[in-house]
């Protein structure tokens, strides 16, 4: 039996148009643009540099969390502890600096280390025992939540040293005030977008999310990679903790209680698959902007906040439906 080889043809990359049409980020991006057009037409205040700057500033904390969340979800995991870990990190930073007398930079470093430590423990439990990420991070959510309240003694920490809130300051660009923290978030998104798309590490993350076994058989040290990812996500939550402090100007033990679900919402809205291995961190940025734009636009229109929640819910269901359908079709 001699079978003819399949017709041999060109080995070019896909055209730009085709690539655009097939990336999971395109749908969310168009949805975002349409939402912007809609709110620009229906409200006077929406379409302004100041308002856009405000929206980015409003999403920078959840957006930063969502970067870490994207890393975890790309491995087919999930992190329920991110908001609580961030809250604990922010209390550590605020309290050690404002009451413990640590120099602000040391306090920030300590907060980052604490958050990364939480990530490391998550990663170790998920990889080495192994336990399902859902359960591990659910447990860690409670641990971090409790520690936040114990360590803060339920007290909001005020009178923070100036450097801690420096990222909440603004600088004028034209006649728009830009928050430094927004730039940190955008920079983080760009760094992770590059690392995920253009380095070996990024390829390995996607391979791990597709199939840990396949990744391992191809010589990728999946155990190290997984633990590293959780730790890195933790460190990113630490940056979010600093942004949180700079945005609100206080250390707030109640902060971040719904941020775990909000960050998952952003990741899913951005077209990243909950089943792992598919998606992009820039999609997450779009996802978080979708939430921010709807919240801001509806507020400007005078629509009650409960409808924002309703719309977000509908969008999430749409996004996962699209993910599921396109995954099925691809098989």
């Amino acid at each position: 039996m001699t079978a003819t080889p399949l017709p041999y043809d060109q080995l070019k990359g896909p055209t730009t148009v085709r690539r655009l049409l097939t990336t999971p980020t395109t749908g969310p991006l168009v949805a975002l643009l349409l939402a912007c057009v809609f709110f620009s037409l229906t409200t006077e205040q929406f379409l302004s540099g100041g308002n856009f700057s405000l929206i980015v500033q409003q999403v920078m904390v959840v957006g930063t969390l969502a970067i870490g969340q994207t890393l975890i979800i790309l491995t087919a995991g999930i992190d329920l502890s991110c908001g609580a870990v961030m809250a604990f990190g922010s209390i550590v930073i605020a309290k050690t600096a404002a009451e413990g007398g640590l120099p602000p930079l040391v306090a920030v470093a300590l907060g980052l280390a604490v958050c990364a430590g939480f990530g490391l423990v998550n990663g170790l439990l998920v990889q080495l025992i192994p336990l399902p990420p859902f359960i591990v991070t659910l447990g860690m959510l409670n641990v971090a939540f409790a520690l936040t309240h114990i360590y803060s003694a339920e007290q909001t920490i005020t009178n923070l040293p100036g450097p801690l809130t420096a990222l909440g300051e603004t600088f004028p660009l034209g006649n728009t005030d830009i928050t430094y923290g927004s730039l940190v978030t955008i920079a983080l998104f760009l760094v992770f977008a590059y690392a995920l798309s253009s380095t070996s590490w990024g390829r390995h993350v996607y391979a791990l999310g597709n199939s840990p076994e396949a990744a391992r058989l191809n010589g990728i040290r999946t155990s190290r990679l997984t633990i590293g990812l959780y730790t890195l996500a933790g460190a990113v939550y630490g940056i979010a903790a600093l942004l949180l402090i700079s945005r609100t100007g206080v250390g707030d033990p109640q902060a971040g209680q719904t941020d775990n679900l909000d960050s998952i919402t952003a990741v899913v809205l951005g077209g990243t698959s909950l089943f792992g291995g598919r998606g992009a961190v820039l999609g997450t940025f779009i996802g978080v902007l979708i939430v921010g734009v709807f919240r801001n636009g509806l507020q400007l229109m005078g629509v009650a906040s409960i409808y924002q929640t309703l719309i977000t819910g509908v969008l999430v269901i749409l996004a996962v439906t699209v993910d599921q359908i396109s995954r099925k079709k691809a098989r």
Partner: protein, 335 residues
Amino acid sequence: MLRRNRTTFASIGFTALATVSALTLTACGSGAQGGSGDDGVKVGLITKTDTNPFFVKMKEGAEQAAKDNGVELVSAAGKFDGDNAGQVTAIENMVNSGVKGILITPNDSKAIVPALEKARAKGVLIIALDSPTDPQDATDALFATDNVKAGELIGQYAKAAMAGKEAKIATLDLAPGVAVGVQRHQGFLKGFGVAEGDIACMQDTGGDQAKGQTAMENCLQKSPDINVVYTINEPAALGAYTALKAKGLEKKVLVVSVDGGCTGTKAVKEGKIAATSQQYPLQMASQGVKAVADFAKNGKKASGYTDTGVTLITDAAKTGVDSKDTAYGLEKCWG
């Protein structure tokens, strides 16, 4: 090819559906918010959450007052009790949308302050409803129940109801460090004339019925002879009642509360709770909206503290303690 196209369709489908749903929902939302004023004065109302009946009533009062004063009301809420970030975002968005004033029940009395200061710097009138900020002068004015007085009233009532019997008191409180809870608790002690050390059992309930029940069960384990129970609000009181009933103690123990929600007032009528201090969220909101409308009209800012009133509600009135019956209470109740 086929597969690629399907993915494309999926993308387009997502976009289309997202847009349609957004438009539809927005349309509903606008409809629900209809009846705004024409002169363009906007008033913002930010409640702790938008699910608690207390805030639902508050919003109702604000909506009515907005109509009466010819202003437009925009409202927002935190996602959960304690959600500061959500309230900050709402303040920013409202300021951006050009509100004249914001009425807010702060989720975190300290954490909200920087955002409020920014808003005030832009000339927005800020009025705290229900609970003060810390410091209190971070807002222009405070329209709230005098929680100490509310506690005091109920304390005096309990003292009179005990008629000289020796009291073994349990207090089912809110949470450590929360002003409302502390003030009511202190007021109760003052009204009853006891010291902190004389309390047989103190438990936090978060104002939650299930936690109230657990707390009462634990208190009864500790001191089975408790005969007076002060509760932070009626859900906690009803939780306590369930625990007492399970032990057959519901007739022997005096349960008193603060808040005046409709469910709670009904419970007073049914005798599950002996008395409650009723507060008036509707008043807070309608007076707040009026204050902003006045500010828009003549530039005069409201200031200081305005007591929105508190009334003792009970069907077993005691001499020497002013009270109204549950018929009155049910007429004025919220939720």
